[in-house]
Amino acid sequence: MAVLEVSDLSKSFGGVLAVQNVSFSVEAGIVYSVIGPNGAGKTTLFNLITGIYRPNSGEIRLDGELVTGRAPHELARKGVARTFQNLQICMNMTAIENVMVGGHLSLDRNLIKGMLRFPSLRCADAVLRDRAAELMAYVGLHAYRDAEAGAMPYGALKRLEIARALAAQPRIIFLDEPAAGFNPTETVEIDGLVRKIADSGITVVLVEHDMKMVMNISDRILVLNYGKKLTEGAARDVRRDPAVIAAYLGKAA
């Protein structure tokens, strides 16, 4: 059974049809990329699936369970994690605390126990801190383990978001332009990281503009244009599709 199934999803913002009747499904453990020109609706699609927007119509299923319109924090409970196109890092916290927040649901969040400093809470926190440090090393941020988030460069922060998403021990992770703003070397590194994540069994859904990275890494690709599904299939088939080429390069070619 597909880990993610989207049927006939639509969203409009006051007359602008951002996403129109998009359907696709994602099998477990693969790398699934969503591509398309700017404004095609990719991030909106992500926002719909991760609960940040409510769709006007359509269905979203996680492992068969209907989750359309559920709030983001509920979806987190179901194993959904994501990163953002526009960095959403908590600059008021340290790097490792940002990652620890990712593991929020694994801890006892009781207010009273927190105020009274229950030993069980302190223990669990220490365990999470160690795991967060491991995750930071996993994404290549070992050097920033004790850093303040506000002091880190852009590239490091993008990786930090990935570490935070992984801290939630998700089943499926949505990466919104993880290589945005990266130079070729950094892109290759992210490429490797995404592969590593997929190999560990987590389903990866990716939005990316860097075609080389996308072709290199994806098992299947969904192409969006003007909010509609243009085509979908195995990576090598999609790259040769004339409609896709036309959408990206324009008809005249």
């Binding site: 991030t43 940040i52 526009n86």
Partner: protein, 291 residues
């Protein structure tokens, strides 16, 4: 029955017009700088208090009035220069607190200088009430409404027909873009503060013969003006006027028909009602955050 309703309506619309002027002041400054100027109420207070002061020193009415509008305008510019400008880019909480601080300073200074007593000056065209449909309409109310109407129309013309006005509007939509086309956004900010203070002061002057003035009238008037601006939709000029009249009328009606003890609570209860159904006020813009 009807005459009583009319009576409440008159007082509601009169004070509502003052709230509308205060709300317009808030809106002007909010549009220019994204700041809610909690000192707005003090500009209203200054209008009335300064008029009383200047009349006492023997100056003729027109001169007193002119000064009572010009000085708050200058104070407005001062507030912008000394409080807002140095705090560029602070969080919402910070900006709110700075303007509250400015309002305290203004109020404290007036308290020290002019004392705590209440004062008034005679109505502009006498006190003889005009009988309308069985209710008594004070001539001063007509002054309030008339002047407010003139100001609203003048502002509309300014913003929609003059280049300067359009420059200010442009800045409120996108300050960076406005700068890039050569608009002096600094100047826009100063003008907005001066204008908003002047409008507030005029409102205070007009209302003084009816309700008297003192060093602390600014608090409630300012807060209610803020309520009016929020209810109407922050940043929307028409919303400010509609909000002001609405708050004034509902307040007067509640005081008349339900309970006058809770009159002051009404605008604030109104806030809850309106914001519950319309989180951006009656005419406020819907905002979506891009993630």
């Amino acid at each position: 029955m009807f005459s009583q309703f009319l009576q409440f309506m008159f007082s509601g619309v009169t004070v509502g017009a003052t709230y509308a002027l205060a709300a317009l002041g808030f809106t002007l400054i909010y549009n220019a700088s994204n700041v809610i100027n909690f000192a707005q109420g003090e500009f209203i207070m200054l209008g009335g208090m300064l008029t009383v002061f200047f009349l006492k020193t023997g100056l003729p009415m027109p001169v007193a009035l002119a000064l009572a509008v010009a000085i708050p305008a200058a104070v407005g510019v001062l507030v912008e220069k000394l409080a807002i400008e140095p705090a560029k880019g602070a969080e919402v909480v910070g900006l709110i607190i700075i303007t509250i601080g400015a309002s305290l300073v203004l109020r404290g200074v007036v308290q020290i200088w002019l004392g705590k007593g209440a004062a008034a000056f005679p109505a502009f065209s006498g006190d003889a009430p005009i009988a309308v449909g069985g209710a008594a309409l004070a001539p001063q109310s007509l002054w309030v409404l008339g002047t407010t109407a003139v100001i609203v129309v003048a502002l509309w013309l300014f913003f929609n027909r003059t280049l300067a006005g359009k420059a200010i509007l442009a800045t409120s939509f996108d300050p960076l873009a406005a700068q890039l086309v050569g608009i002096n956004t600094q100047w826009v900010l100063l003008v907005s503060f001066a204008l908003s203070a002047a409008i507030g002061a005029i409102g205070g002057i007009l209302l003084t013969p009816i309700t008297m003035t003192s060093y602390d009238v600014g608090i409630m008037l300012g807060l209610k003006g803020f309520v009016a601006a929020v209810v109407g939709g922050l940043g929307n000029g028409l919303g400010a006027v509609v909000g002001g009249l609405m708050v004034g009328i509902i307040e007067a009606m509640s005081a008349g028909y339900i309970s006058s003890a809770y009159k002051d609570a009404v605008p604030f209860l109104l806030i809850f009602v309106v914001l519950f159904f319309l989180p951006r006020g009656l005419l406020g813009a819907k905002a979506t955050e891009r993630v």
